[in-house]
């Protein structure tokens, strides 16, 4: 094989690679659009009026997740499935956002932590790498961390809206999450950086709980160990 032949072979490989990336980018753009729409729907829970009809907002978000499922289905067809990590960077961000949104919806509905399996089901993707397009564990954890900072905001706003019970429940939940994350041995990577922000969310929520308890606003609501 001559030098020229070798280089034109590689050139062919590179342009095929670029075509795939182009296709992926297009689908990811649509996914990002839908993710923003879901976020807009869910953001209204921070409004004082929003607290009254959380279930209807969750329902609306769930409907939008149907569109997401179509797009993830489309994304899967754009590249060979065993090369997931070759193109991972393209959808990593949006997948983390979607994991966050799914986790947030599930929290608002049932006040529990969404499992990785549930997120995968909501997005119509797999959990195991072997089975196809999957949710990487680090992306799931990143999504959960984004939710934590969203919940610290929600705690503040729920006090403004006069819901004094919610911050205490959020506090318990976040504390459980924090001790969960403390089990992990994180390397010096983006996930670790994001985890470092969790303590500020914990602190913020604890301050809200403190403010409520010294004013006796949480008295009738059984503050855990705060007497």
């Amino acid at each position: 094989m001559s030098v020229t032949e070798m280089f034109s072979y590689i050139q062919g490989f590179l342009s095929a690679d670029q075509d795939i990336r182009e296709d992926i980018r297009k689908v990811v753009q649509v996914l990002e659009q839908t993710a923003r729409e879901i976020l807009t729907v869910l953001q209204s829970v921070h409004q004082p009026s929003g607290f009254t009809d959380i279930p209807s907002k969750c329902l609306k978000a769930r409907e939008l997740f149907c569109t997401v499922r179509n797009h993830t289905g489309e994304l899967k067809t754009k590249f060979p499935v065993e090369q997931y990590y070759r193109y991972h960077e393209h959808w990593r961000f949006v997948l983390q956002r979607l994991a966050f949104l799914a986790a947030f919806v599930v929290y608002l509905e049932s006040e529990s932590l969404v499992t990785r399996e549930e997120v995968a089901k909501i997005l119509a993707i797999e959990v195991d790498r072997e089975k196809g397009f999957h949710l990487d564990v680090e992306d799931y954890l990143a999504g959960v961390l984004i939710m934590a900072s969203e919940l610290s905001r929600l705690a503040v706003n729920s006090v403004t809206a006069g819901d004094y019970g919610r911050p205490l429940r959020i506090s318990n939940f976040i504390n459980e999450l924090d001790s969960g994350f403390r089990l992990l041995n994180l390397k010096n990577d983006p996930l670790r950086k994001r985890y470092d922000g969790l303590k500020y969310d914990v602190k913020k929520i604890e301050e809200v709980v403190y403010d409520l308890s010294i004013r006796g606003l949480a008295k009738e609501l059984e503050a855990g160990g705060d007497k």
Binding site: M6, I10, Q11, Y85, G180, N185, K187, E206, G225
Partner: protein, 284 residues
């Protein structure tokens, strides 16, 4: 205001102390159980990554040594001896790459690609340098990949010390075109050094062969241009410099060659190379 904040901090410490026992009391909540699974998964992944980095480092070191060895061909009468010695070394490197392939069995190659790409590039550089010295051509990606096929005996313990042979399995390692490309770009630097040192030894054919070959590679890289990844365009700059040096050397050879009788040329050039060419060539 500051007083309030102090209170907040003091209380925070208290709560943390207060929450600790709760963590211990409730270690089997669903959240904690889930995170224990994640912990295991992440640790497994990080361990594998570390192991791959370590193998990659060994591959880099051994490949570098092979390249140093190969640079001696310009000053030694028996080229074949060095080439076969390098072959042995490269076999050792291939064994290490076999370990990488073993680690990657059933994994996505690209997930851990960052861990071993430096080693692989260095290997491409060494193996293509070796190939060039022997055949004066560019080794192709298929030829490299063809030598990265490993047979592994699958041992499986069955009952009391009994070993069942499930037959040898074939394990392959595929070098990605991009790693190949970057390795070849590094190769040009080695070729430039080889050219200068062969000039120093009075060999006047090798520089011309090398400049022709380097020009072909340079043309190839220009053809790819900026469609490749970012690193490729960075290496293209260094490649131009190497090519310039080789072309200058050939130019000098030609000009001096027409003035001086051939049998004296070697002496003239080697003294010139020693005083002029060496200083701007950094020793690696």
């Amino acid at each position: 205001m500051s007083k309030r904040e102090d209170d907040g901090c003091a209380r925070k410490r208290k709560t943390e102390a207060g929450y600790k026992p709760e963590d211990c009391v409730n270690p089997d909540s669903s959240v904690i159980a889930a995170f224990k699974v994640f912990q295991q998964e992440l640790d497994t992944k990080h361990d594998k990554h570390e192991r791959l980095v370590k193998i990659s480092r060994d591959v880099t070191i051994e490949s570098k040594r092979t390249i140093f060895l190969l640079h001696r061909v310009t000053s030694v009468p028996d080229v074949e001896e060095i080439l076969s010695e390098a072959d042995v070394k490269l076999d050792g490197v291939r064994q290490k790459i076999g370990q990488i392939a073993e680690e990657l069995r059933g994994e996505d190659l690209h997930q851990f690609h960052r861990a071993f790409t430096p080693g692989i590039q260095e290997y491409v550089e060494a193996v293509s340098f070796h190939h060039f010295i022997r055949h004066r051509t560019l080794i192709s990606l298929e030829e490299i990949n063809a030598r990265l096929v490993f047979m592994r005996e699958n041992k499986k313990a069955v009952g009391e010390g009994e070993v069942a042979w499930t037959g040898p399995s074939v394990l392959t390692f595929q070098i990605t075109p991009i790693d190949y490309l970057l390795g070849v770009a590094d190769l040009t630097g080695e070729l430039m050094r080889m050219c200068i040192s062969s000039v120093g030894n009075g060999d006047i054919d090798t520089p011309f062969q090398l400049s022709g070959f380097l020009r072909q590679i340079h043309d190839g890289f220009s053809y790819i241009g900026n469609t490749g990844p970012y690193e490729v365009s960075k290496k293209l700059h260094t490649l131009r410099q190497s090519l310039g040096k080789v072309e200058d050397a050939c130019y000098t050879l030609r000009v001096r060659g027409s003035e001086i009788p051939k049998h004296m040329l070697a002496d003239v050039f080697s003294s010139r190379a020693a005083t002029h060419v060496d200083p701007d060539e950094p020793m690696v």
